[in-house]
């Protein structure tokens, strides 16, 4: 009995039935092996790509095709402009100026509203590239934005939809960060003066940190802050944990998209690169439910 037929193609060929034209049938031989290999390749391709492609189609392509350019679903859809309006370049320039003025008005109204409260709040001026901390209408810290990345959605959404979105200050809902909000140290009181003398420590300079945080505001606004300088090696673990949390947020977004029949809100993200000291001051200073006045 030939126990080595797989490794002997000639023998295999001799044992194989031929079809009417004298060719080997697909049950074996070189072409059989080839077709088997091809089937396997096909199977592999199906197994590997079917799920990711379905995921891309249902979570990205279909939602993007259906995307209605609105910053947040809570905003009333404005009537679409009649196509008959044609604008000259002069009119366009005037309209752009009016849009700028309306944005400025919304921004100043928001600042005025926030100035009437006691809490520290944020003021983000994208036009002048500054993010300020204010208390009662007074700028206590002005932070220059070194670089920023604004979501493509801002360019797609008309002023008519953006204006109602920015006419009220935003409220922070939750945040994730590489640094703690308050660097609390718990100390147990010593029992007597001898124990107090033993446990006495000299203050040390604050631990080296890397400051990365994301503020999730209501109405779909997401502000990401990153320090300008490369992080110190000591802080890499915190950054890893922060990025893992961000991935979790991404997964939540994807699940929301897959679950909902209609296209859910996608974040209106603004990423700001600032100095480490500025980023730290902002994160530590603002209350957990801080508010924000945004100028586009």
């Amino acid at each position: 009995m030939n126990t080595n037929q797989f490794s002997n193609p000639e023998q295999t060929r001799a044992n194989k039935p031929l079809n009417q034209t004298g060719q080997e049938t697909s049950s074996g031989g070189a072409s059989g092996m080839f077709s088997q290999l091809r089937n396997m390749k096909l199977l592999l391709a199906v197994v590997v790509f079917a799920l990711p492609i379905a995921l891309i189609v249902f979570s990205i392509i279909i939602p993007v095709v259906r995307y209605k350019p609105m910053p947040w679903s809570g905003i009333k859809q404005t009537e679409t402009a009649s196509a008959s309006i044609s604008l000259s370049s002069e009119q366009k320039a005037i309209l752009k100026k009016v849009i700028e003025l309306e944005n400025e008005k919304a921004y100043r109204n928001n600042r005025l509203e926030l100035a009437n409260h006691d809490s520290i709040y944020l003021v983000l001026d994208l036009a002048d590239r500054v993010v300020n901390l204010e208390i009662k209408g007074v700028t206590v810290r002005s932070n220059k934005i070194v670089d920023m990345v604004v979501s493509n959605r801002f360019g797609l959404i008309s002023h008519e939809s953006l204006l109602p979105w920015i006419t009220e200050p935003f409220t922070l809902e939750h945040a994730i960060s590489t640094i703690p909000k308050s660097p609390i140290v718990i100390k147990q009181a010593p029992k007597d003066t001898i124990e107090a003398a033993k446990t006495a420590t000299t203050p040390e300079p604050p631990k080296v940190t890397a400051v990365y945080f994301t503020f999730y505001f209501d109405r779909n606004l997401v502000l990401e802050f990153e320090q300008k300088d490369a992080p110190n090696e000591e802080a890499l673990d915190e950054i890893k944990a922060y990025r893992a949390q961000k991935k979790k947020e991404n997964s939540k977004s994807l699940l929301r998209t897959l679950k909902s029949a209609s296209e859910p809100d996608q974040p209106m993200t603004i990423k700001l690169i600032v100095n480490e000291a500025d980023a730290k001051a902002i994160y530590r200073a603002v209350p957990t439910k801080t508010r924000l006045a945004l100028k586009l």
Binding site: M1, T3, Q5, F6, T12, M40, L43, L44, V46, V47, V48, L51, P52, L55, S59, I60, V64, P69, T78, A81, I85, Q91, K92, I94, L95, V98, E102, R108, L112, D118, I135, K136, G137, V138, R141, S151, N152, R153, L156, S158, H159, P183, I184, I186, K187, A189, P190, K191, P203, K247, N250, S251, S253, L254, Q266, T269, A277, A281, R284, A285
Partner: protein, 240 residues
């Protein structure tokens, strides 16, 4: 014999095909899941990128809302409103000298009419939570917000609160016991912000710029003197 060989051959072939299929399904499945994970982790970025083919926002809707014939008047009206808002916002600006204290960086800026006239280091709350033996607890942090100078004191005397004794493992004395009074530890000047919080001097100048206090704001001698002279009772103190 030949038939048995054929049967053996086809059963072995079937077995190996099954193995290969299993390997393909398991291996492919793992790769597939990895790809799905990558898509999930980068979902928002992919979604953003996919928007590139969408058309940009237009101005027509704004033109329709305002009306092209009214646009000039409308612009003027908005400009007037902006001026009014500006005046209202200006009313919040403090008159005279005020100070801004940064608890994250432990520094301060003395301001006059919106301009910085002096900058320096200070020390603010350490964020230590001291747990006493009788379930009492104190958090040493500097409060944030807007305050006013309520009182200005020369050669201040520190009346030690309970935590100062608990922290040193000592028995807490009665409210006005002589051991509560310490002289010379607060520097030459102090300014009261309310609720026991002060801006004062320090013996521990090497810790300026670090968060080491029990909630008060400590300054170096020269800075303290300048701030004391510049600020009046009622001057505003902004702490963030």
């Amino acid at each position: 014999m030949k038939e048995m060989d054929d049967m053996n051959y086809s059963s072995k072939q079937g077995e190996s095909r099954l193995k290969a299929m299993l390997m393909v399904v398991v291996g492919g499945g793992i790769i597939s899941l990895l790809l799905c994970w990558a898509i999930t982790a980068n979902f928002n970025r992919l979604h953003e990128t996919a928007l590139w083919f969408k058309s940009k926002a237009e101005l027509k809707a704004t033109a329709q809302r305002i009306g092209l014939e009214k646009i000039g008047n409308y612009q003027q009206a908005v400009e007037k409103e902006l001026q009014t808002l500006d005046k209202k916002l200006d009313a919040f600006q403090p008159v005279g000298t005020y100070i801004i204290i940064n608890t994250a960086g432990n520094d301060f800026i003395l301001m006059q009419e919106g301009k910085a006239i002096r900058e320096g280091m200070c020390s603010t709350g350490s964020y230590t939570v001291l747990k006493g033996n009788d379930k009492q607890q104190w958090t040493f942090k500097t409060p944030r917000g807007m305050f006013k100078i309520l009182n200005k004191i020369k050669d201040p005397v520190w009346k030690k609160p309970d935590w100062a004794f608990v922290e040193e493992g000592m028995k807490v004395p009665s409210a006005n016991h002589p051991s509560r009074y310490e002289y010379g530890v607060l520097g030459d000047y102090a300014m009261a912000l309310g609720q026991g919080y002060l801006i004062h001097g320090t013996l521990y100048k090497r810790y300026l710029g670090m968060p080491v206090t029990h909630g008060c704001v400590r300054m170096g001698d020269e800075d303290l003197e300048a701030v004391f002279k510049a600020l009046k009772i009622g001057s505003k103190v902004y702490i963030y």
